[in-house]
């Protein structure tokens, strides 16, 4: 995917020169391996910094919320689905955007890769679908498919669903992947095992809110954990408060989450945040046949009423 870089730069330069947009939101090379920094370009010099590789896992739609003016944005499959959701939820207008679609073959997972090596990784290079990871006294080349973030491994929407132009040919969508394999595992647990599982999952949480802030869906002017009149959730590390935050946040994302994986990617403690949101995505699919952000013309299930909506919970 590194060959996309030149195409992105070319498109960015063109749309800026044409005055079509005021800024182009993309990534520039990070200062640590497997990290890239969201970056906006407004001039030739800043356009030159734009790159694309397999460490562009953050969801750039996060930077569109309530923005004014015309913006070009580099967006892979899941990002475009969030852009669609943003448009549907009136957080940005479609006319403001020039979506530079990126057919994506997946992002690598820096948590997973760091855990694979004892020593510090100082360089990660990619060539085709091979990733070379090196540090002081070691260098290993591994196939990218073994290093993918979990959501990328089961992704069925790698191509942008909404775009103004593409940086490359559309890629083949994956088939035969079970998106919800891990959810089913947890569903099969006994209540006691489930309790222990979630207790263990959330124990390291430090309430930094990186997961919430990296998520394009979380744009409430005052998040429910920050309300004070009345105060719904405590601010300490009390496990009840930590669980309330994560579970309620997942519910707020129900029917809207595109499994972009930004939440898991940004967590400094390596918590598998997607365990909650994936369950709700599965429920939405099973109850309403709904996957978020696939079409600008469809309203989400929690927004609409159909006569045949399941109601077996009404006894």
């Amino acid at each position: 995917m590194t060959d996309y870089t030149d195409k992105i730069k070319e498109i960015a330069k063109r749309v800026l020169d044409e005055g079509k947009v005021d800024m182009v939101i993309g990534f520039r090379k990070g200062t640590v391996p497997m990290m890239n920094q969201p970056h906006y370009a407004t001039s030739a010099a800043s356009v030159d910094e734009l790159i694309w590789d397999s460490s562009c896992g953050l969801n750039l739609a996060n930077y569109l919320t309530d923005k004014k003016g015309n913006i070009a944005i580099v967006a892979k499959g899941c990002d475009t689905r969030n852009i669609v959701t943003h448009v549907i939820e009136n957080k940005i207008k479609r006319e403001q955007l020039h979506i530079i679609g990126v057919p994506c073959t997946g992002m690598i997972d820096h948590h997973k890769i760091n855990a694979m090596f004892d020593k510090e990784i100082t360089k990660v290079e990619e060539s085709g679908d091979q990733i070379t990871i090196s540090g002081n006294g070691f260098s290993e080349t591994l196939p990218k498919k073994d290093l993918l973030a979990e959501n990328c491994a089961v992704c069925t929407h790698r191509n942008p669903v909404e775009y103004d132009e593409l940086v490359g040919d559309l890629v083949e969508e994956q088939t035969g992947v079970d998106q919800y394999a891990s959810v089913k595992e947890v569903e099969a647990m006994s209540p006691e095992d489930k309790w222990n599982y979630f207790e263990d999952l959330l124990a390291p949480c430090i309430r930094c809110y990186a997961c919430r802030n990296a998520c394009p869906l979380c744009y409430c002017p005052t998040c429910f954990v920050d309300e004070s009149r009345p105060q719904w959730v405590g601010k300490s590390q009390d496990p009840t408060d930590v669980r309330t935050f994560h579970l309620l946040r997942a519910y707020h994302c129900a029917g809207r989450c595109t499994d972009c994986g930004a939440c898991e990617r940004v967590c400094p403690m390596g918590i598998k945040i997607r365990e909650f949101t994936k369950k709700l995505n599965k429920d939405c699919l099973e109850l309403y046949g709904w996957e978020a952000g696939l079409s600008l013309d469809q309203r989400p299930p929690l927004d609409t009423y159909k006569a045949d909506d399941p109601e077996d919970f009404i006894k």
Binding site: T31, P38, A214, D226, G234, P268, M269
Partner: protein, 357 residues
């Protein structure tokens, strides 16, 4: 200054022995990363690490700390009167703390221990703690301790410095507290005459592995206003998502929030870590917020660490070069980049360029 040489076995035995007199904290691998934890009986610190994910500041200054308790029972004679909770810090020892993290404690102390006000919670915990440091024989790519006031073999903030040499350790006693710990651990065995030069050799090798640096020499001479009004803040702040990761993993960040929590007829007043990155940090009851735009908050963090603290205490920057914020920032905001931008900022030149463009 006593210099002892012991082997790994004596080191481990000594730590186990010291648990009789101290609550001992050490780095332990938990799932994928090392973090400091209170060592159980027979549990030993794992020195097979570069640095812990979270800083050891939580040992002295827990993320959530109860300060007072109160009763709301109208029949009680103490109704609505704040009562102090017991604050007796029993002796603690932090074994395996890196010199960068060790320096963070004297830096933070200036905030909690001033001539006018003493934070009894922080000070009591700090004074009850003995810091047994572990020198770094090689650095990470993100370490810049040598340009942040210390170094891989730095001694400020430590009571003992351990230097690993193959399967042996030099034990350098630095303070009286350090001497007491050595006694409790039963470490003995004078190092030979070559020890000092061996340590020096290891130190030089370690310092040579440091590739990252920040420039701070011109920060003091610039005025607050010229840095505050600089034009680069909006661009640098763009990617920030205003989470609290940098402030929570940073050993020298200390801001907190005070909250009351009531359960039925009784309650506690506690303090929790807070972050200047959160939008509500400076939010007034009237609705006014002096830092309601993102770049103002990002600017506040870096101005505080690299300028306000510098001016206030005339003792260097409020950063020890541990590199955690660089490694853990989800959007790769790099303090080295910003520090160098601040240090090299030329207000007059920028004004000319602004006029010209």
């Amino acid at each position: 200054m006593t210099l002892i040489k012991i082997d790994k076995k004596s080191l481990d035995q000594g730590i186990e022995k010291a648990k009789a007199a101290y609550r001992v904290f050490g780095p332990v691998k938990q799932k994928t990363d090392h973090d400091f934890k209170l060592l159980d009986k027979s549990e030993l610190p794992d020195f097979n690490f570069q640095n812990t994910r979270l800083s050891p500041k939580a040992i002295i200054y827990p993320q959530s700390q109860i300060m007072f308790e109160y009763s709301l029972d109208e029949t009680s004679e103490d109704c609505r009167i704040m009562k102090e909770v017991e604050n007796v810090a029993s002796p603690m020892a932090v074994v395996g703390v890196r010199p960068c993290d060790a320096l963070s404690f004297p830096i933070v102390r200036r905030n909690f221990d001033s001539p006018e006000y003493q934070d009894t919670y922080w000070i009591k915990a700090y004074e009850a703690t003995t810091f047994v440091g572990l020198a770094c024989n090689s650095a990470c790519a993100t370490c810049f301790c040598t340009s942040a006031g210390t170094g891989p073999f730095g001694e400020e903030g430590l009571d003992i410095l351990l230097v690993a040499d193959g399967n042996n350790f030099f034990v350098k006693e630095l303070t009286e507290k350090g001497a007491a710990f050595i006694k409790a651990a039963g470490w003995s065995g004078d190092a030979d005459a070559n020890a000092a030069s061996k340590i020096d050799e290891l130190k030089k090798t370690a310092e040579a592995t440091i590739t990252a640096a920040v420039e701070t020499d011109k920060l003091r001479e610039k005025t607050i206003l010229e840095l505050y009004d600089a034009s680069f803040w909006e661009e640098e702040a763009f990617s920030c998502i205003n989470c609290g990761t940098c402030t929570y993993v940073c050993p020298t960040c200390w801001c907190f929030d005070v909250q009351d929590e009531t359960f039925g007829k009784s309650g506690i007043r506690m303090r929790n870590w807070d972050s200047c990155m959160f939008p509500l940090f400076t939010h007034h009851a009237s609705g006014h917020n002096p830092r309601d735009v993102k770049y103002q908050r990002v600017r506040q963090r870096f101005m505080h660490k690299l300028k306000y603290y510098v001016d206030k205490y005339d003792n260097g920057i409020q950063c020890v070069g541990c590199g955690r914020c660089i490694r853990l920032c989800p959007v790769n905001i790099d303090i080295r980049r910003i520090c160098n931008k601040m240090n090299s900022f030329d207000a007059a030149k920028a004004a000319c360029e602004a006029v010209a463009s």
